[in-house]
């Protein structure tokens, strides 16, 4: 017995996953620092990612409100902006350089810090060991490093906002030559270097995290937890981690070359450039090369953001409609297909860069192929809730909202994936509408669904339901009100990233629409603050969880104590005997994974 236990302890990094019996008696002494700050407990690290993500979401969201003010009311002056931002908002009007800085930081922060680190970082950390039945990650120390590299990346990014010349302002894609030349503008000075350094740190963080997620899923599952008995969130996190591990290093190589071009005079991306009448010596570089390196990450990144949301939504819909997930293997297959295709479609971001039209048509085909696994998933979500006994918890509502947004945003992807239609639509508000709905808001909905569903596991308390329902309905209606009209603007040719469109008579028709979008964004942002209030209030004052398994779910995390310590299970880890989706079977509402299959049980799965 003890020999087996020691083996287990050795596997899970001896020092920190103590002997289960010692665990029960709180044997090792934890200080405040080791418990809440430099913690190696995957649950605490998950919470750290979540809270840091929330802080960044507030900053990124606030920036979008600021530039929406400019877009909705370009003629108006807001003296309060000058109070806060000084010369960046001279006369209460957002200056062009500052506007680009806002757009850039908004994009970077939400894509990377919130929807990558805040989403996968939180839920991969929280759910992987709990749902596969492990005491912690494969390497708790690396896991801790992963968070602190992320934190450091955040510090660098935040400091760039306080630099005199402003933060990076080359767009979240940081295309050279603009981003490679200091002379090109204030935002290309120190801010851009800090952006690159911050991204390098972020990449290290997400690699350390991703390595751990993969190793934990493949090596640390409890007895009986075969790969096809894993809950779908774990499969989603697994593919997410693989995408990250294979694509982030390519972005790193692109960023390193850009740092060289910026600081050491190389010409990887630069060729034949004249700035302010000065002829630069750079020759033979290729700006398109950067786009290839960037989008080789950039496209998988879209799925890095989306897949965890998909996985959690699958789980939450099944649990709350009290029905097995429809098409478990089809869900796996489609996740796999999406992960493969994610690497083969990057050039659809580059249709108008002079890409060979024949090559373009190949990328069109591969891009449109993504519609197949996506449609399978949508079909399976709908058939999962179809005639289910749905409990409309806030998590369920957000999960259903996710499906709705994924459908509407996915359909416009079919437009943009066609290289011919893209000639008209590229760089318009149509693109903004598409990716915000399908990737931004949809993933946010998946994240909210996850927070509402697993908050009781994280903090042993519930979030307030009244605030949660307000949060859902305002966000749901608001998101469509904000982004739906942008499709019309985009089809009419309104460009994205423009500070002031009053110069175009043809776009003046949209002035009132823009005002409406701005007002709704402010309302939606306010409701997010309500959620943040609910989150922190409920950590301390929320209704206490009294039962071990409040949602009546099958997965392993609900077999742990209500407030699990480091090591998750007191005593031994439970053994798994069945898949996680036995809901409404043989007249029973749910059958946990830990229950052995009885002889007279009907066959399913």
């Amino acid at each position: 017995m003890s020999e087996v236990l020691n083996q287990q302890a050795a596997v899970t990094d001896g020092a920190h996953v103590a002997h289960p019996h010692e665990q029960a008696h709180e044997h090792h002494h934890e200080t405040f620092v080791s418990k809440y700050i430099f913690s190696m407990d995957h649950k605490t690290i998950g919470k750290q990612f979540l809270i840091t993500g929330i802080v960044w979401a507030i900053i990124g969201g606030l920036f979008s409100v600021l530039f929406r003010l400019q877009l909705g009311y370009p003629e108006e002056s807001f003296p309060i902006l000058e109070t806060f931002f000084g010369e960046w908002a001279k006369g209460g009007q957002i200056q062009p350089e500052f506007y680009y800085g806002l757009v850039t930081i908004h994009g970077t922060v939400l894509v990377f810090f919130v929807l990558t680190a805040g989403l996968s970082g939180t839920f991969a950390n929280l759910l992987i060991p709990l749902q596969v039945g492990a005491r912690d990650m494969a390497s708790p120390f690396m896991n801790m490093l992963s968070y602190w590299f992320f934190f450091l990346a955040g510090v660098v990014m935040l400091s760039s906002i306080f630099v005199h010349t402003g933060p990076a302002s080359g767009g979240w894609t940081m295309y050279p030559p603009l981003s490679a030349l200091r002379q090109a503008g204030d935002g290309q000075k120190l801010g851009a270097d800090l952006w690159l350094v911050s991204m390098a740190l972020f990449i290290i963080s997400s690699l350390l995290g991703g390595l751990n997620y993969i190793a934990t899923i493949l090596n640390m599952r409890t007895k009986g937890m075969s790969m096809t008995r894993m809950p779908l969130p774990i499969w989603a996190m697994f593919f997410t981690a693989i995408l990250g591990v294979l694509s982030f290093p390519v972005l790193l190589s692109g960023a390193i070359l850009l740092l060289f071009d910026r600081n050491l005079g190389t010409s990887f991306y630069l060729s034949d450039i004249v700035v302010n009448g000065e002829i630069l010596p750079n020759e033979g570089g290729s700006a398109i090369l950067y786009q290839h390196l960037f989008w080789f990450l950039g496209h998988p990144e879209v799925y890095i953001i989306l897949l965890p949301a998909m996985g959690m939504v699958s789980e939450i819909l099944s649990v709350n409609s009290r029905k097995p997930i429809f098409g478990y293997m089809a869900m796996l297959g489609s996740l796999f297909a999406i992960a493969i295709l994610a690497f083969l479609v990057w050039a659809h971001h580059m249709f108008v860069t002079g890409l060979n039209p024949f090559l373009g048509s190949v990328f069109v085909l591969l891009t449109l192929l993504i519609a197949v696994p996506s449609a399978i998933k949508v079909f399976n979500w709908l058939t999962t809730i179809w005639r289910g006994n749905i409990r409309f918890t806030p998590a369920t509502l957000f999960a259903i909202g996710f499906v709705s947004l994924f459908i509407s945003g996915g359909l416009t992807g079919i437009f943009l994936g066609n290289s011919t239609i893209d000639i008209h639509l590229h760089d318009t508000m149509f693109v903004v509408a598409h990716f915000h709905i399908v990737m931004g808001v949809a993933s946010f909905f998946g994240m909210f669904a996850g927070v509402y569903h697993w908050f009781p596991k994280m903090f042993g308390r519930y979030l307030n339901n009244t605030m949660a329902y307000m949060h859902f309905w305002v966000t749901m209606i608001g998101s469509y009100l904000i982004f739906w009209p942008m499709h019309y603007q985009g089809l009419a040719g309104v460009p994205r990233r423009y500070l002031d469109k009053r110069g175009w008579v043809s776009f003046n028709d949209f002035a009132d629409l823009d005002k409406m979008i701005t007002v709704v964004s402010i309302v939606v942002f306010a409701v997010q603050l309500l959620f943040v209030f609910n989150f922190f209030y409920s950590i301390f004052k929320g209704r206490k969880v009294r039962t071990q398994n409040p949602w009546g779910a099958n997965t392993l995390e609900w077999t742990t104590p209500i407030n699990p310590g480091h090591g998750n299970w007191e005593g031994d880890i439970p053994e798994v005997h069945r898949w996680p989706y036995d809901y409404g079977k043989d007249g029973r509402e749910f059958i946990p994974q830990t229950e052995p299959v009885s002889a007279q049980e009907s066959k399913s799965h």
Binding site: A138, L218, N219, S271
Partner: protein, 191 residues
């Protein structure tokens, strides 16, 4: 609810597995860089680069160090700790010598006007070889820590896993170097 202490399919130590995934990840970074090289070599004004002799010396040092690393691992498995320490030190020194030979090679190239100016294979050489050298240095640091532990460690640890992980990593940077060296020899010299 039955309990268990077993995990599914414990074929490989999770840390080892993590290293293999990390190697895949590092390979993607160098694949990204070398494919960038190929894309850019089709641009105008491309200048090929001839590698200095010092890099051949680097190759030899790297190959020998892989052998000594393997000997260290073998000694550790046979519990001949004296030999293990000896071979670790030799590997470590060879690693340092490798980085030094790279540095000298860089200086020689620089003095031959292969600089950051203009367009050509030389710029990539500094970046790619430099990044590889950083990975060798990381390996050297790991070896130093392990050497200190084996000399001064109060706790006797006979688990071969850390040594095996270090050895796998070391062979990886060795093979990576061979790939990069041949790549620059064949593709980088142009024509």
């Amino acid at each position: 609810m039955s309990m268990t202490n077993k995990t599914e399919q414990k074929r490989m130590h999770p840390h080892k597995f993590t290293l293999w995934v990390a190697i895949g990840s590092l390979l993607m970074m160098f694949a990204g860089l070398t494919s960038a090289f190929i894309v850019k070599s089709n641009q105008v004004n491309w200048k090929p680069v001839t590698m200095p002799v010092w890099f051949t010396a680097s190759t030899i040092l790297m190959l020998i160090s892989s052998g000594t690393m393997q000997l260290a691992l073998k000694s550790f498995r046979e519990r001949v700790m004296r030999n293990y320490r000896l071979w670790m030190l030799v590997t470590l020194l060879l690693g340092v010598a490798f980085v030094a030979s790279q540095w000298i090679g860089f200086q020689e190239l620089w003095s031959k006007q292969v600089t950051f100016q203009g367009a050509g294979a030389g710029q990539f050489l500094y970046v790619i070889f430099g990044l590889h050298a950083l990975h060798v240095l990381a390996g050297v640091i790991v070896l130093i820590i392990m050497a200190i532990r084996s000399f001064a460690g109060a706790v006797k640890n006979y688990s071969p896993v850390p040594v095996e992980i270090a050895a796998t990593y070391w062979h990886f940077v060795d093979l990576l170097w061979i790939y990069l060296f041949v790549f620059f020899l064949v593709v980088g010299s142009g024509q």
